[in-house]
Symmetry: C2
């Protein structure tokens, strides 16, 4: 896949809250089974599987099978490229990445409270 | 728009090479007219206008009209949020880069000793 197509797929994969939640889960616990990943969601397993297909097509996860258990892992190269693309704007907010990260954590905590 | 919906729209807006090219252009020259933005593309003006609509709906650009000229500007808050979301993965590669560097230094020190 070329660089542009890869970025298209990565950003499209990120444009969904369930898929982002799956990626966030894998960031905390890499190497989760499909049923572990599906558990927190109200949607049915086939819907989760479809989201995993999108993530797999974008190359941001890998799936490996051992017996009846499919283990899902993060594959970070495409995410790194997406972040690199966005980094061009860094100079605009001229803050350190730390400040941006702190801002994100605040926003997320806020969102968790208001969306509850 | 809530935090999750905003991220959905921002990442979806980024999932297209023409829209990313428009944003990259605005990063170099903020405050461009629609015709300036359209010029490098092989696609027709109405197609460019549609991409601008998507960017505007995601809140990553603003458009202002003075006489017959529409000026397009970057609006960075949503892009900052998207980047913040991706920053959670930073520890994965910053950690591994450190480890790669340490490994390389170890190898080099080893080589200096055995080649002496």
């Amino acid at each position: 896949m070329n660089y542009y197509k890869q970025l298209d797929r990565t950003f499209a994969a990120l444009a969904d809250p369930t898929r982002r939640a799956i990626l966030a889960r894998l960031e905390r616990q890499d190497g989760a089974s499909v049923s572990e990943l599906a558990r927190p969601f109200a949607i049915k397993l086939p819907a989760v599987m479809k989201h995993l297909d999108v993530l797999d097509d974008a190359g941001v996860i890998t799936r490996s099978k051992a017996g009846r258990v499919v283990t899902v892992r993060l594959s970070l190269d495409p995410i790194r490229e997406a972040m690199s693309w966005l980094l061009r704007y860094e100079r605009f907010w001229s803050g350190s990445l730390d400040r941006v990260a702190a801002y994100a954590e605040g926003k997320e905590a806020e969102a968790r409270q208001t969306d509850r």
